[in-house]
């Protein structure tokens, strides 16, 4: 009975090093990025992203083969044109990834868990946004890079191709920033399962359809400057218009892109306003402590 000890094997305090806020944000960002592609999630959430990545990656291979066989000296589709032509799979990817990023946390009411860590509301939004934007960028940069590889293998002039590729990446970056902002803003207000996905893709498609219809109408009324401006409604045409002027590349839709400096300035303004408004909406959405 003497000399016995009872060991304390209860709750252990952690007295070691604690990594700071930056690390927390970085971890959440990487987690969002991986989750957008279904990594670290159950198998059925890998289906949609990877089908879309496959759909986006296949045409560059076909195009490169075509050039190889026909022996042209430039690609039939430029790096920036490619983005606009495949706007549907890109839009679907955003529609699937954005609700994953923010809707689930709101639906299950776990925001207090996030916010009780050394992480501010703005940190949370920034991390989610960064992760999603990087994911969307990668989804667009991959096929562009495949296109470059194919072009190089087909012995197209290296300098031109590299310049085009860099321009394409810039367009992808601008587009990723814009689409991620739009997607997150919509997803943050539609926490119900499935509604965010449907809402985002519906908005993207409808906006695109309206933009083209308005352009068509303006054209038939000989108001081509309005036709060009109507492109600002559609995210893809917006970015395409900006890069066409900035980079001097061929725009995706030929006649319907801004040509004057004034029009480009309007496009740039619309871009900034949209991204800013989405960011503001997001921050306000999370203003209440529980995020509800």
């Amino acid at each position: 009975m003497s000399g016995d000890v009872i060991h304390d094997i209860g709750f252990r305090h952690y007295a070691g090093e604690r990594l700071g806020r930056g690390w927390v944000v970085r971890s959440l960002l990487i987690d969002t990025l991986r989750g957008a592609f279904g990594l670290g999630r159950p198998a059925r959430s890998k289906v949609m992203p990877w089908i879309l990545v496959a759909i986006l990656a296949l045409p560059p291979v076909v195009i490169a083969l075509t050039v190889l066989l026909t022996g042209g000296d430039e690609l039939p589709v430029s790096y920036t044109q490619y983005l606009t032509q495949l706007q549907l799979p890109i839009g679907l990817f955003v529609a699937g990834a954005a609700p994953y990023a923010v809707s689930r946390d709101l639906r299950y009411g776990v925001m207090p868990l996030y916010l009780s860590r050394p992480m501010l509301r703005t940190d949370y939004v920034a991390a989610r946004y960064g992760g999603l934007a990087i994911a969307v960028f990668l989804v667009m940069a991959l096929p562009q890079t495949l296109l470059l590889v194919g072009a190089l293998l087909a012995n197209l002039p290296v300098g031109d191709q590299l310049a085009g590729w860099a321009g394409g990446l810039l367009a992808s970056l601008l587009l990723a920033v814009l689409l991620a902002a739009l997607g997150l803003a919509v997803a943050a207000f539609t926490p119900r399962r499935g509604l965010g996905v449907a809402a985002i893709i519906t908005i993207l498609l409808v906006v695109s359809g309206i933009s083209f219809a308005l352009s068509g109408i303006a054209e038939s009324r000989d108001r081509s400057e309005l036709a060009d401006l109507a492109g600002a409604l559609d995210p893809f045409r917006l970015v395409d218009g900006l890069t066409a002027k900035i980079l001097g590349v061929d725009p995706a839709i030929g006649e319907l892109t801004p040509t004057t400096g004034g029009q480009v300035a309007i496009f740039a303004l619309v871009y900034a306003v949209v991204v800013g408004a989405c960011g503001l909406a997001l921050v306000r959405r999370y203003r209440k402590a529980s995020g509800l």
Binding site: L88, L92, R192, R193, I201, L205, V206, L214, I217, S220
Partner: protein
């Protein structure tokens, strides 16, 4: 048909954020139709372009998706469908009542606006309106039934429905010829093509499928999907909302 089920479903469909989209989209279509008329002076080809591509190809499947998943998806997802299932009401009745509400909503919110859009944008004696009305009705009924069935079968009905309606019918349909034969839109357009007769080609209303084949396929898919949904509802497992 059970009126109480239908009442609850209508209330659920219109009382959520979903309803905002359901009301805005037809309004946008009508606005675009008016603009198209102003721009193209009411030419039926322009009207057919707007209606065939935007309305039938984009708007109709999306509206049917929102409606079809909205009448039963959220209730299965959060488990509140137990209040309908734990009643002495046959499952068949429950599903058919919800399907009826969905079809009604599709007609009112999608088919009628599409017809109105075609008429507003430009028509010749309402023939285009009638043709597209018929096509939208046929396609809408089948789309909505498919999406209701998907909602009963899987929790990810929206994503599955989107991949089908958009990727299968639009993108792949553009590249792979065989796909067009297995597309609801083509089946429905076959009827529109027949109604318009000789004007169909001139106005750009074309289908790869012949009308009898199209109608049969539409009927088979609609009835088959309904039967499948009823069978699955009879054995639905209520897991806790995950």
């Amino acid at each position: 048909m059970n009126p109480v089920v239908m009442q609850l479903t209508v209330r659920g469909l219109l009382g959520r954020r979903r309803s905002v989209l359901l009301l805005i989209l037809p309004a946008l279509l009508l606005g675009l139709a008016a603009l198209t008329r102003w721009a193209a002076d009411g030419s039926p080809s322009a009207s057919a372009g707007l209606t065939g591509d935007f309305a039938m190809g984009t708007l109709l499947p999306l509206m049917c998706l929102l409606v079809g998943t909205g009448v039963i998806g959220p209730e299965i997802d959060d488990g509140s469908i137990v209040y309908l299932l734990a009643k002495p009401v046959p499952r068949r009745t429950i599903l058919l009542s919800k399907l009826a509400v969905a079809l009604g909503a599709t007609v009112v919110l999608a088919v009628l606006p599409i017809m109105a859009g075609a008429a507003i944008a430009g028509d010749e004696g309402f023939r285009l309106t009638a043709a597209y009305g018929l096509a939208a009705l046929l396609a809408g009924v089948t789309y909505t039934t498919i999406f209701v069935t998907l909602s009963v079968l899987t929790r990810n009905a929206v994503i599955a429905g989107l991949l089908y309606a958009l990727l299968w019918e639009s993108v792949l349909g553009g590249f792979v010829p065989g796909v067009r034969d297995a597309s609801v839109r083509q089946w429905a357009l076959a009827a529109a093509e027949r109604v318009l007769g000789p004007d169909a080609a001139g106005w750009g209303v074309q289908s790869d499928v012949s009308m009898p084949a199209g109608l049969i396929l539409l009927a088979v898919v609609t009835v088959g999907a309904t039967w499948l949904a009823i069978a699955r509802l009879k054995t639905l497992r209520l897991t806790a909302a995950d």
